[in-house]
Symmetry: C2
Subunit: 419 residues, 2 copies
């Protein structure tokens, strides 16, 4: 019995073949190597190709030592990225592979010693009070799958080189949270105070001494309507929320970028005004390039429709001529995803991909695959998502000083050289 498909004549493959896509090209799976794209723009008429992810060689910080180092790029102790080829095709991102972005160092691990004792003060409701996690668990349970994505994911593709971590695609993951629905908590406390327009979460990080707290505290406001699907979550992917991801209790606001999902949440306020903390008033704003953030500019909150290809990924060992499933992820932010198209020619022509795996709801990503074949030579692979609201993933990024909200499909193009 031949041990290798390479020696199998193609017609014998096709003879019994009902699965046309699968059979096409399986006769030629020679060893080959992906020429690592060097980040050189592929020509004026072409979008720039994605550079391979950097290898930082930094160790995981102690609070995240349980993570899968091989799947991650450690930018710093508070900024850790998932490698593009580490996402897999199983919809969820396991906690060991999930990115970390902390604005302040995490609190001492003592706060997860007795998780049920952690308290969050709820204000701006008819009957304000503090609730322990134990009490929250008696109020109700809801489970939501969602994309958690750093506001700056894709910053690494901005030619303006904004300050901040140059994330490529890996400051994102699709995870499952369980917790008490904020709307049920609010109901129990008598409802939201009149005139409340914002829901503000405050993080429980220890603040540096000698600095105005408002200048560093992690405190974010979202429109009060976001309460409808928000959770006070104690569980991530079926286990207690790790300290590194905001345990014992994290405010989860599905569809909103990572920063709005406040870790170690210790205070939840419903009020007429946004927080005046600097991270809200001046941080995470869509500022013009060269300008500083200020409250007049749009805040970075809801995510837009976005997709990218994970395989083949820059740095993958072998992309050979023949059968090649191209797969990746797509999400709509606040809408479900409707379709994904894949281009093999840098966006000149598109073909519809199929979804694989379970649909975890509107806030989750879907994994897509296009089973195709690539001939020897250079190819520019792109994906473009459309959500159920009819929004199409844009070709170009929206330039801004902070490098936020990069959903450009052109920025996420992958150049592969097929041998």
């Amino acid at each position: 019995m031949p041990r290798d498909l390479r020696s199998m004549p193609r017609r014998s493959v096709l003879a019994g073949g009902a699965a046309a896509l699968a059979t096409a090209g399986l006769s030629s799976v020679p060893p080959g190597a992906l020429a690592q794209a060097a980040g050189v723009p592929a020509g004026a008429a072409q979008p720039a190709a994605t550079p391979a992810a950097p290898s930082t060689g930094k160790p995981l910080p102690p609070y995240a030592s349980w993570k899968d180092a091989g799947a991650l790029i450690v930018h710093s102790s508070n900024t850790i990225e998932t490698r593009r080829n580490a996402f897999g095709t199983s919809v969820i991102t396991p906690a060991e592979r999930l990115y970390i972005r902390n604005n302040l160092p995490p609190p001492d691990a003592a706060i997860v010693a007795d998780r049920d004792a952690w308290e969050v003060a709820v204000e701006g409701v008819k009957n304000p009070r503090s609730l322990s996690v134990r009490e929250l668990k008696a109020i109700g349970i809801e489970t939501t799958a969602m994309v958690l994505q750093c506001s700056g994911n894709g910053r690494g593709y901005f030619p303006s080189k904004p300050s901040g971590t140059p994330w490529q695609v890996g400051a994102a993951g699709c995870v499952i949270w369980s917790g008490a629905p904020v709307r049920m908590v609010v109901d129990v406390l008598g409802g939201v105070a009149e005139g409340a327009r914002f829901m503000t979460g405050t993080g429980g990080e220890k603040l540096p001494d000698g600095i105005d707290a408002k200048s560093v505290i992690v405190e974010r406001s979202v429109p009060v309507a976001a309460m409808a699907d928000a959770l006070l979550a104690w569980e991530l992917n079926g286990a207690p929320v790790p300290l590194a991801h905001g345990g014992p209790l994290r405010l989860i606001v599905p569809g909103y970028t990572g920063i709005n999902n406040v870790k170690y949440v210790k205070r939840l306020v419903f009020a007429a005004a946004e927080s005046d903390a600097r991270i809200m008033s001046h941080g995470y704003r869509m500022s013009p390039v060269g300008a500083k953030g200020d409250p007049s500019q749009p805040s970075v909150q809801e995510m837009g429709v976005k997709s990218w290809i994970n395989s083949p990924a820059p740095g993958d060992a072998a992309v050979a001529a023949g059968n090649l499933p191209i797969h990746g992820v797509a999400f709509g932010g606040i809408h479900a995803i409707a379709k994904v198209e894949v281009s093999l020619d840098g966006g000149k022509t598109w073909r519809q991909a199929r979804f694989i795996g379970p649909d975890l709801g509107r806030y989750a990503w879907r994994q897509f695959v296009l089973e195709t074949r690539l001939d020897p030579g250079s190819h520019l692979l792109a994906s473009r998502a459309t959500d159920t609201g009819g929004n199409v993933q844009p070709q170009e990024r929206l330039e801004n000083a902070g490098g936020y909200n990069n959903a450009s499909w052109a920025d996420h193009v992958i150049e592969v050289t097929v041998s």
Copy 2:
């Protein structure tokens, strides 16, 4: 602001309350303790209450040292159970909390050093050959969420005390697999040979010397129709399948008990006859109590409809009078789950629970919750599932020598004493 709900007058809770279930009883959440059920039958007319899980104190074996020891009961180096209170409510079971049941010690970790090089020989097809994982990845990808459950899960509730691990509920988990669909692999190889009625997978464990291989090899046959949804899987929950769970490649047969999902699969055969390995011909048979297994008895294959409550769980610290969400898991084996009912009186009366979290498809479990309140005293909590085929979880187990297929709801009753 009062810091404790205990001091909150109930009417003030109810004042603004739209969420009737959530508000009911939240005014009284005093500290309390679950009297650990001692396994004493609760009376002739009542089903026996579930004993608390044993604390073995054994360490995790080296190949599973990456697991979450606190969430697990180590029966032996090859039998490790998830604690009932460690399942959470987030649908999936993370790999760190997933049970292990190995019939033979796992192979050397060298087999996961180059995962893509692992080969499976496919026989009983028109063009038999070996395929590497790398080649499988070029054929196609599918992702399936499913309950993985040991055939002997619930054996601990058999009064006949069958030999084998006395699993309670924790030899099960809901996980997500990605791999090549077996049907696509078969298509590529020209289709199944004429007359094939069974699909047989052979595990890659190292066999002990000096013993007839057929007497110990892990080799299981399932009806060839099971091929339709079967995978040759390289990924578990978004990461490469760990050695402890059958990596680099596991045969996944959704809806079938754990043993039929052959680890380290090295051979896949389509044939007219079942395997004559002892584990197939005499093992995992529904034998009468006192009898030995033989090929005339039904084989342990498809799972039946089943559910159980995870919280409150025997051994939980605090079950206090007042509001109490009762939650657990339910699955239909080969059917999707249609509904779950919960009883607070040992099965005399039932109330319908609601599902929480995303629906991951017919082979996955659903998590259910009944938000209720319990008065002080002793309560017998039960759950009973119905699948979309109209099958209702049975009250009684089907007695058998091996202690297999225990889906009895009465065996899974939890006794709680509310203070």
